[in-house]
Amino acid sequence: MSDEKNHIVPYRVYAFVLAALVVLTLLSIAITGYDLGKYTVAGALIFAVVKSFLVLTYFMHLKYDKPYIKIMVGFVFAILVVTIVVTFLDYLYR
């Protein structure tokens, strides 16, 4: 059964992604130098999410894989998010 596995990702794609990841990391460190109050965590997390998205899409090959794997990954992250949200229904309103 053939799939996109035969697609060979060029080295430079990975190099560009690393460059982006390094830049994002340095930015995230810089931004925490500023006091954003309650948005500090959100800011740090947004960088983490973007970096993870790059790792998932390119390093982990999701961009080149069949769609159902992407759907599964999205589903699992959604379940995690929902779990945190529902847990906070308790802690936020005590």
Binding site: A15, V17, L21, L45, V55, D65, L80, L92
Partner: protein, 206 residues
């Protein structure tokens, strides 16, 4: 009673192996995800204490570890390309670099933790219980558990990479049979993603 022999089947289904690895990764995401839930709850309840305790961590070491782990993710991803291009020496070199970076990461961790232990900060220590507030105790508890579990997964990843390197060297993993290398890469990227989240939540919230 009959004795039936079968011709050995080659059950190589790369896509099945890949899905299998992704499913295993999902279990790890849930495992660490729950630790993040615990972190979020306690951070919400102990906002200032978490900030205070985080100042004790060395952002520079954390940043170095973050950056080198990202590089190692690139090198292991590149090693798959190298294998597919039938460049065995390059495949082994790239995996080797990944391996070395993983070891350096662990060495950094060892010194980081060592510094903490020297100051009497470790789970269940008297210093923690007597001198720090509850929020700070929780912060350090989570710090040791989460970075410790992460380090354990780095060790597992290193073993995995070593096994794959051996098999590549022996010719058992090659361009037409690359699933094991790709799956080891997936595992390593997972370890990287977990650290991508650990870093800001522990080191950058000052």
């Amino acid at each position: 009673m009959e004795k039936v022999t079968h011709a050995p089947h080659d059950h190589y289904d790369a896509e099945a192996s890949k899905i299998g690895m992704w499913l295993f990764i999902f279990t790890e995401l849930l495992l660490f995800g729950i630790l993040f839930v615990i972190y979020s709850v306690y951070r919400y309840l102990n906002h200032d204490a978490f900030h205070l305790a985080a100042a004790d961590l060395d952002t520079f070491t954390g940043a170095v570890n973050t950056l080198i782990l990202l590089v190692s993710s690139m090198t292991i991803a590149m090693s798959v390309t190298a294998l597919q291009k039938k460049n065995k020496p390059l495949t082994l070199s790239l995996n080797g670099i990944t391996f070395v970076i993983g070891v350096v990461f662990l060495v950094n961790k060892y010194f980081e933790w060592g510094a903490k232990f020297d100051h009497g900060i470790f789970p269940g220590s008297a210093t923690l219980a007597e001198t720090l507030s509850q929020g700070e105790i929780l912060f350090f508890g989570l710090y040791f558990i989460m970075t410790g579990l992460h380090a354990l997964h780095i060790i597992i990843g290193l073993v995995f990479i070593a096994v794959v390197m051996w098999k590549v060297a022996k010719g058992k993993v090659h361009a037409e049979r690359s699933a094991l290398l790709e799956n080891s890469g997936l595992y390593w990227h997972l370890v990287d993603i977990i650290w991508i989240f650990l870093f800001p939540l522990f080191y950058l919230i000052v």
